[in-house]
């Protein structure tokens, strides 16, 4: 039995949270890309892609957050990690900004993206770079949810 910090939300020992996080990350990065494309072309198709990506990203982010929060509360060793706090609060901020962003993107035509929507999408991606890094640190450095080998 390993002595690593344990994930509470897991199936057959596999933590769920890391399976879910790629979805919102890919969606929010995709939003930035389609926003940039819309800003260059003013073709509404790209703005429509953005708002669907944002919506899907928020739905998946809610599921990922649920698993993540339970894991966070489920093991004191996780709560003791500085990386976990940065990861959690950063992602909470990213989700809040994305909620505002989905409303901005629900405006009609150009100002649904330029400038406010585009700026929010970019800030969210920057936040995800930091919180993603912290997430990897939790797993690869602190072995959160890792089976087998004990942490050093």
């Amino acid at each position: 039995m390993s002595d690593n910090p344990r994930s509470t939300v897991r199936i057959a020992g596999h933590p769920i949270h890391p399976m879910l996080v790629p979805f919102p990350i890919a969606c929010f990065v995709g939003t930035l890309l389609t926003d940039i494309t819309y800003a260059h072309t003013a073709r509404m198709q790209w703005a429509n892609f953005s708002v669907w990506l944002l919506t899907a990203g928020l739905v998946m982010a809610a599921l990922a957050a649920l698993a993540g929060v339970v894991d966070f509360l489920g093991d004191r060793r996780i709560r003791n990690l500085r990386a976990a706090w940065i990861h959690g609060t950063g992602n909470a901020l990213a989700v809040l900004l994305s909620i505002v962003n989905v409303f901005v993107h629900s405006r009609d035509a150009y100002t649904s993206v330029v400038p406010t929507g585009l700026v929010l999408s970019a800030i969210v991606v920057l936040i995800l770079l930091v919180t993603g890094w912290m997430g990897w640190e939790m797993v690869y450095r602190h072995h959160v949810g890792v089976a087998g080998e004990d942490r050093p």
Binding site: A42, R43, M44, Q45, N48, V51, W52, T55, V100, V102, F103, V104, S106, R107, D108, A109, Y110, T111, S112
Partner: protein, 435 residues
């Protein structure tokens, strides 16, 4: 349960976000030729302030101004949208509805949920009903299905023995003989009209030129403000001039977001229309208006409003068009949704209502408090509006937001009564001089 929780959460969020908008001004400040125009405000979420349709119970009726009375000419229609009076006094009522809009964005799905309650629950008839009140007692003796199996019929115009019906996708010609109560001959298509899968503004208003050689059709935009792409707006937001002999058309005037109530002013023979302007720039932008329509005129949409006020939501911009955007003649105030207009040419109503125009205001969905939901009268002198609009028929909406009905198309009948198509109320109202 989850659905109810989601809805409740949505409502709370809606209320919180909608509270962020600017406070509405007194709508009267925007009635007339020089409306006050506030700074534009782009919402995070527009206030979805939608009336809940309850219909009329027996004996209930709208309220009319002093000196007038109102009665239901007939009830029990399936979404009556417009009325037209034939030379023999028969009244045509178009029961009409538009397409179910496609869902291109999450927004359209959510707005569809909200707006459902503001429309009639029954499917529209998609047909024209004939009413005949030969003895003039206000109760028609004949009620027949005049033309069946139409597609969003709205505009009607008789020229000689040719009855033109503007479906949402075409102008059709039917042979009419005086006294007919039914036409079963299929309509002949004079011209297609822009429709398609989105067909955002679907009502096609129709009138004939005084000499009968041309038809004029109002073709509304395919979006609020180009959010469905500029390609979707081809030949829209315009008044078409259609040659009656050949069916060929040209754009008579453009930049008119959703023109309805097309009517030639009887003294000057100038074409007038009422226009639904754009949404989501604040509770008091942009004012809907009535205007004379100039040949070749450009009235702003989508690039600018009320003349040269730029709309930041449109790309690419067109400064060349904005530079020649015409300022409309008369503002009706914001979001009242005028869908019907008629110049009063009868002799029944008191002198105060002669010579000017009645306008049917379907009512707002994105303004708190509500605006519209009434029929107003605008006096005219010398072919131009000459004074403030007066409320003539009100009481379509109660103070608590229950809507009994919503006025749409108007007409003057052969005895000088003012007819009002009330779509969600399923009724045609008749206003006459009081006892």
């Amino acid at each position: 349960m989850i659905r109810r929780l989601t809805l409740a959460a949505g409502l709370v969020a809606t209320a919180a976000l909608a509270a962020c908008g600017p406070a509405p001004i007194d709508a009267k400040r925007q009635v007339g030729p020089n409306p006050f125009l506030p700074e534009l405000h782009q919402y995070l979420l527009p206030p979805m302030h939608i009336a809940r349709v309850v219909g009329w119970t027996n004996g209930q009726a709208p309220t009319v101004a002093a000196g007038l009375q109102v009665q239901a000419l007939a009830r029990g229609f399936k979404n009556p949208r417009s009325v037209y009076v034939l030379p023999n006094g028969d009244v045509l009522v178009a029961e009409s509805g538009g397409p179910t809009p496609p869902i291109n964005r999450p927004k359209e799905f959510l707005m569809g949920l909200f707006e459902r309650k503001s429309h009639a629950s029954e499917d529209p008839g998609q047909r024209i009903i004939l009413l005949r009140d030969a003895d003039g007692d206000g109760a028609p003796e004949v009620r027949s299905v005049f033309i069946d199996h139409l597609n969003g019929p709205f505009g009607m115009a008789l020229v000689g023995n040719d009855l033109y019906v503007a479906d949402t996708d075409a102008v059709l010609r039917f042979p009419y003989t005086t006294g007919a109560t039914q036409i079963t001959t299929p309509g002949v298509k004079l011209t297609d009209l822009p429709a398609g899968t989105i067909n955002h503004h679907w009502t096609k208003s129709l009138t004939a030129s005084p000499d009968g050689t041309k038809l004029y059709a109002g073709v509304g935009s395919n979006s609020n403000i180009t959010e469905n792409g500029l390609d979707a707006e081809k030949d829209r937001a315009a008044i078409w001039e259609i040659d009656r002999a050949t069916g060929a058309h040209r754009l008579f005037a453009t930049g008119l977001r959703n023109p309805n109530g097309l009517t030639f002013q009887p003294q000057t023979n100038v074409l007038w229309a009422v226009i639904n302007e754009r949404d989501e720039l604040g509770p008091d932008l942009v004012p809907d208006y009535m205007t004379s329509v100039k040949d070749g005129g450009f009235y702003g949409w989508p690039y600018s409003y009320w003349g040269r006020h730029l709309d930041p939501r449109v790309r690419p911009q067109r400064p060349d068009l904005v530079a020649r955007a015409i300022v409309p003649d008369y503002s009706l105030s914001s979001h009242v949704a005028p869908l019907g207009m008629v110049f009063y040419t009868g002799a029944n109503l008191p002198a105060a209502y002669r010579g000017g125009a009645f306008v049917g205001e379907h009512g707002s969905w994105d303004r708190n408090p509500w605006n519209g939901y009434k029929v107003v009268y605008i006096p005219f002198a010398g072919g131009k509006p000459s004074g403030p609009a007066q409320d003539v028929v009100t009481g379509f909406i109660a103070a608590d937001g229950r809507a009994h009905g919503r006025p749409v198309g108007l007409a003057v009948d052969s005895r000088g009564g003012l007819l009002i198509a009330d779509d969600v109320g399923g009724t045609v109202w008749r206003v006459t001089a009081g006892p």
